[in-house]
């Protein structure tokens, strides 16, 4: 099949993470011929999302040693005056993987994921589940929360749910501050499928309901990624849910942070005067640039000192520093003000919190850009590795790449995700690390009437020198976990050797880690962890290009995910690289409407029949690989289903 690949492309992109995928889409939008390759058999690289079984496969693969020898096939492909730079084939970005299972595994051995076809998880992540969960989602291109309107009986139940959620939002604050948990015996009596009864075999069986993100990030509703999705019309490929609440860990308990006007109004934790001080502070400094006289004296102090000087009470300082600005304690005043401003400007665009989460997981986002790329003629090969770069001996420019079957593809530019770079090039690079934990739990960290909250929790650093832990808790209506479970992500910059050492103390404070089935009633104030995964991910986001030695000038590097909460770094990186390649071209202009496209056989640069051939047999089944313009409307329809 690889023989069907054209022998020449404008841009070859290796890696399907977010920045690479954005660049791929941007290049095809200006008519460049793009070959987008990933050695893995799934989209997204370290940005991917997996079903439960897909995640197991990923864990195994990460532990495996791969053959690092250069394939013999490519040796004959280089000419005399050409040099070869081999690619790295071992994924060294993930380390210290540890898995713990706390749920009952009695009958778990023989169970298989329902409907699992094979280990090709890329397939599974795109399967739409059709259970009757709350489905109202946000279409960001409309700039407001859209509520589904249909005439069917489901429409009715939707209505009723909406009413319930009204009451819930009004009442939710009543319980803040105290963790309310129904007694287990009661729960069992009332609810048949009580959280307590979930076993490991159920998780495996319902594994397709999970979409576990390798990186846990949300989209700021006015962040670069949302703006890009809207501008480029890529937003039509995806749906979002609004994060419903911002939480913090304060004085030993979890509290809801009042961050919008409605929250402040309803908050029971704040006194009247605190309400006014907080609102006044936030409203005033949302345009902090207009009042330089108010913060100038504190430009060299920390943001925290600045907050103290503005008569904010300790509670308010905590809320603003950790949950609104989300900056570390040692952040300078300007840094804090900027972060706070960004948070505040994002409020109210789609809801009462500034964050959006993509349905089916963050791994959807790179795929959406790949889809746009494919619609405009990009060619995709998954599970297809490149062996080496071919560099011209005189100009030192990269002329071509050679794949694992020895096929040579000429190209003008190569964009490569940094994990593929060989050791010789990265010898001088020092990386940071991100500590990650993924938990499947049986109930929410802060129960309210609704069991469908999407929460962001900032856990302040325990000691000086440590960093805050960002925790996100996803409910089943985000289509990332099975019913009656929650998917909890913990993320921080690593300060200790392993992710487990960094994060387990926090996990222990918030959750019950026990394999015992019958826990004392008073222990049931915390959610129970059913399954846990720890790992470290390499953070290459801060690595400057100069640190890579001997890289041809027309080879560009994309970094993996950074430790930040938003996605601005990846988008900015993609835009900067695109402009280095094509300084005078527009970055991701809006895609035209299907009805405005003129189909003219002579003008079409690539014949549909030619480009519609899936290049890789394994990717054949994936809808993402249909690269024809004509399939555009069809794929739209598929998505709509």
């Amino acid at each position: 099949m690889a023989d069907d690949l054209p022998t020449e492309f404008d841009v070859v992109i290796l890696g399907t993470g977010l920045p690479e995928s954005i660049i791929a889409a941007a290049c095809t939008r200006i008519g460049q011929r793009v070959l987008h390759i990933d050695a893995r058999n799934y989209y997204g690289g370290n940005w991917a999302s997996f079903t439960f079984s897909g995640l197991q496969t990923w864990i195994e693969n990460c532990k495996q040693e791969l053959n690092t020898e250069l394939a013999a096939a490519c040796k004959g492909q280089a000419l005399d005056n050409e040099e070869i730079i081999p690619f790295n084939k071992r994924n060294q970005t993930i380390q210290n993987i540890e898995v713990f299972c706390y749920s009952s595994t009695e009958d778990g051995e023989a169970v298989e994921e329902a409907g699992a076809l094979n280990i090709n998880s890329a397939l599974l992540t795109t399967v739409t589940s059709s259970d009757g969960q709350e489905n109202s989602s946000i279409d960001i291109s409309k700039n407001h929360t859209s509520t589904e309107q249909n005439d069917s009986p489901e429409g009715r139940s939707d209505l009723e749910e909406a009413t319930n959620s009204d009451q819930r939002s009004a009442d939710s604050t009543l319980e803040t501050g105290t963790i309310v948990e129904v007694e287990p015996s009661l729960t069992q009596a009332i609810q048949q499928d009580s959280p307590k009864t979930i076993t490991y075999s159920q998780i495996v069986k319902e594994g397709r309901r999970f979409n576990v993100d390798l990186v846990s990030k949300f989209l700021y509703s006015r962040g670069l990624l949302i703006e890009l999705l809207i501008k480029s019309n890529v937003s039509r490929y995806t749906e979002f849910k609004n994060v419903t609440r911002i939480l913090t860990y304060h004085n030993g308990k979890i509290e809801q942070v009042p961050c919008s006007r409605a929250d402040v109004f309803a908050s029971k934790q704040l006194s009247m005067v605190e309400k006014r001080i907080l609102m006044k502070f936030l409203m005033h400094y949302i345009d902090y640039e207009l009042h330089p006289e108010d913060y100038q004296d504190y430009e060299n102090s920390t943001f925290l000192e600045f907050l103290k000087s503005k008569q904010l009470t300790p509670t308010l300082q905590h809320f603003v520093l950790y949950s609104i600005a989300m900056v570390p304690e040692n952040a300078k005043t300007i840094e804090g003000l900027k972060a706070m401003q960004h948070f505040l400007r994002c409020l109210g665009r789609y809801g009462n919190t500034p964050f959006l989460f993509p349905m089916y997981g963050l791994g959807e986002i790179p795929q959406c850009f790949c889809r746009m790329c494919a619609v405009f003629g990009g060619v995709y090969c998954l599970h297809h590795s490149l062996e080496c770069l071919v560099v011209d001996g005189d100009s030192k420019l990269c002329k071509a790449v050679i794949d694992h079957r020895g096929k040579r593809v000429d190209c003008k530019y190569v964009i490569v995700e940094d994990s593929y770079l060989p050791e010789q090039i990265c010898a001088n690079v020092s990386y940071k690390q991100i500590s990650r934990a993924v938990l499947i739990t049986d109930c929410s960290i802060l129960n309210t009437e609704s069991n469908q909250e999407i929460s962001v929790l900032t856990f302040p650093p325990a000691d000086k020198g440590q960093t805050a832990v960002y925790i996100t808790e996803l409910c089943s209506s985000t289509m990332t976990c099975m019913k009656n479970t929650y998917l909890v992500h913990l993320t921080c910059s690593s300060t200790k050797p392993t992710a487990k050492e960094d994060l387990e103390p926090v996990v222990q404070q918030l959750f019950t880690l026990s394999t015992e089935n019958d826990i004392e009633a008073n222990d049931r104030t915390k959610p129970k962890v059913l399954w846990a995964l720890y790992f470290n991910m390499r953070d290459s986001s801060g690595v400057p290009r100069q640190s890579y030695a001997g890289l041809p000038p027309n080879v560009y590097v994309c970094s993996g995910p950074d430790h930040c909460f938003g996605n601005d770094h990846a988008v900015q990186q993609a835009e900067n690289l695109f402009h280095e390649l094509y300084p005078s071209e527009e970055f991701c202009p809006p895609a035209p409407n299907p009805e405005d496209i003129i189909y003219d056989g002579e003008c079409a640069q690539q014949e549909p029949s030619e480009s519609s051939i899936p290049v890789d047999s394994k990717a054949e089944a994936s809808a993402e690989n249909e690269t024809v313009v004509e399939s555009y409307e069809d794929s739209e329809a598929q998505k709509a289903e």
């Binding site: 200006i30 008519g31 460049q32 011929r33 509520t147 309107q149 005439d151 009715r156 209505l159 009723e160 909406a162 009413t163 009204d166 009451q167 939002s169 009004a170 006007r261 409605a262 402040v264 109004f265 309803a266 009247m272 005067v273 309400k275 006014r276 001080i277 609102m279 006044k280 405009f376 003629g377 071209e585 035209p592 405005d596 496209i597 003129i598 003219d600 003008c603 640069q605 690539q606 313009v629």
Partner: protein, 565 residues
């Protein structure tokens, strides 16, 4: 660059759009004509429904077509079974729902929905309620939907506490919602009625509401909806109409009656003399008003010709809805009986002790807020109102200080604040006069811009209005039947309509005002006892023949001063 996808140019797009629009317009016009033709020829059939449906789906504000639909439904009602009507109406409700999704604020559509729900054989009000809630979720301030929702809740008798809970939840989402606050003000007096005061709520409920509304204005003090609701919470009970004062004078001779509210009087105000009704004709003191606080009648001379006799006067309004007595003792020329402003607390709130503690708390938190938000006009105004409600005289000086701040922070409304302050100043002066049991009232140097509460001044003989900013003397000044001396020096008076028909007025001082013409003094000719008039410092004094003209206009005035004495 090579290889880009070809896209229609904007010109091509425009042309395509224009053609599409033209086609649409043609369809629209022909469908409209067909529908109207059907109406003219009386073909009220299902085809008419289909035709109008097409047009209304595009333009729901076409009232005639909604009417046509109603005519069709009335026609169908005559010959269709109940089941058929039910399914027709259900179809109509679905159609209406689709129309509302396109334009959720169309008057015609909501009205038609209401109409259909009235004729549908088996209405499903629960579904209507969910529909309303859904629409309010999308736009919590859609007042069309709020109106319809009230009809729905009435028809389906939703428990009121549930409704209150609903308004709470919407306010929780966004408290800038007049509709929701207003609905609360209608629900609370029904759920927690105060047994003593009509239209008010119990103290416990009031406390809860005050806390809720305080949350709102501490969160956003510039949002007026919460402040308006707060004002409603502090409002007085609605008192029924009463007669405040009855005054008898033998000099005219006449009887005057002052009401608590402006009323219209015809045959329903009856005067009894020693328990026998006597025929009199009532007139207002002014010349034109239909409704008035003040009514006066001439007494037939033959009724009161014996000065040594005691006369019992009684007035009865609307068969006893309001009444008052007044006794004229032997030898007296005049007499009055009236409600006291101090005893009845006309100018403060009628409060229990508990509630005035609540108000003290409110005042304290508003002052806290004002410290944080010194420029917030709503907060300043509320502080003043709270002080008035608690005790007008104790807080007099403090309140005047807040007025000054208020005029500085909100200069656009300084006129309004001046008028409000004038009102409070007069109320205070009236209270002080009554405490002093005096018939003199001194309102000089109060910065008055208007006069009010004159109905409380029936017994006043001397009034000093000097050194204020009055431009006119209002017509209800004639309620002051006993007024003998009136000083209005150093004002900006141009017109004198109010100085009309004051039976006792003897001396009038109008020095340093802006009276231009002799003819402006015309109303004074109706004051029979006027003998001294001070006009120094008015433009009219400059005129050469001023004195002659005045003497011919007011022959009964003995002394007219055109210059300083």
């Amino acid at each position: 660059m090579h290889g880009r996808i070809k896209v229609k140019t904007t010109l091509e797009q425009q042309e395509a759009k224009r053609k599409e629009r033209e086609k649409k317009l043609q369809l629209y016009v022909s469908a409209t004509q067909a529908a109207l033709h059907k109406r003219e020829t009386g073909q009220l059939d299902k085809e008419a429904l289909d035709l109008t449906a097409q047009i209304l789906a595009l333009n729901p504000d076409f009232a005639s077509l909604w009417n046509l639909r109603r005519e069709v439904f009335l026609q169908l009602q005559t010959d269709r079974s109940e089941e058929e009507m039910q399914s027709l109406c259900l179809g109509e409700l679905t159609f209406l729902e689709n129309c509302l999704r396109v334009s959720p604020k169309s008057y015609g559509t909501w009205y038609h929905r209401c109409w259909i729900m009235k004729i549908i054989p088996k209405p499903d009000w629960a579904r209507e309620l969910t529909l309303c809630n859904r629409f309010l979720e999308i736009d919590e301030r859609n007042f069309h939907c709020w109106d319809y929702r009230r009809i729905v809740t009435q028809s389906s008798s939703v428990p009121l506490p549930e409704e209150l809970e609903f308004t709470t939840s919407l306010i929780g989402k966004n408290f800038s919602n007049y509709s929701s606050w207003h609905y609360r003000s209608k629900l609370l007096p029904q759920i927690h009625p105060d047994p003593l005061r009509i239209g008010r709520v119990t103290e416990e409920a009031l406390l809860n509401e005050l806390e809720l509304v305080q949350n709102a204005f501490f969160t956003d003090p510039n949002d007026q909806s919460a402040w308006f609701y707060h004002r409603w919470l502090l409002g007085r009970a609605d008192h029924p109409v009463s007669i405040r004062c009855v005054m008898v004078s033998l000099d005219e001779p006449c009887v005057s009656v002052t009401f608590s509210h402006p009323v219209e009087v015809q045959e329903d105000l009856i005067l009894f003399l020693n328990n026998r009704p006597i025929f009199v004709s009532w007139r207002t003191a002014g010349r034109k008003e239909k409704r008035s606080l003040f009514w006066v009648c001439d007494l037939p001379k033959e009724c009161i010709n014996d000065p040594c006799c005691q006369y019992n006067f009684q007035v009865l309004w609307k068969d006893g809805e309001a009444k008052k007595e007044c006794i004229l003792y032997p030898g007296r020329r005049e007499s009055w009986f009236r409600d006291s402003a101090t005893e009845n607390e006309f100018f403060s709130l009628d409060l229990s002790e508990g509630k005035s503690n609540v108000l003290q708390q409110e005042l304290k938190s508003c002052k806290d807020l004002q410290e944080l938000e010194p420029d917030n006009k709503w907060c300043l105004l509320t502080i003043i109102l709270l002080m008035r409600a608690l005790d007008p005289l104790v807080y007099e000086k403090e309140a005047l200080g807040y007025f000054e701040t208020l005029k500085v922070v909100d200069p656009m409304r300084s006129g309004y604040y001046d008028d409000l302050r004038s009102k409070f100043q007069m109320e205070n002066a009236i209270l002080k006069m009554e405490y002093a049991e005096s018939c003199l009232i001194n309102l000089s140097k109060k910065g008055l811009t208007r006069l009010c509460h004159l109905e409380h001044l029936g017994q006043v003989t001397h009034m000093n209005l000097s050194a204020n900013q009055l431009c006119a003397l209002p017509s209800n000044l004639c309620m002051l039947r006993r007024l003998q001396v009136l000083e209005v020096d150093n004002n900006e008076v141009v017109r004198l309509e109010g100085l009309w028909n004051l039976p006792q007025l003897e001396e009038l001082s109008l020095q340093f005002n802006k009276i231009q013409n002799v003819s402006d003094l015309q109303p004074l000719s109706s004051c029979p006892r006027l003998s001294v008039l001070h006009l120094h410092g008015n433009p009219l004094c400059e005129k050469a023949d001023a004195r002659t003209q005045l003497e011919s206009l007011l022959p009964h005035v003995n002394t007219i001063h055109l210059s300083l004495i």
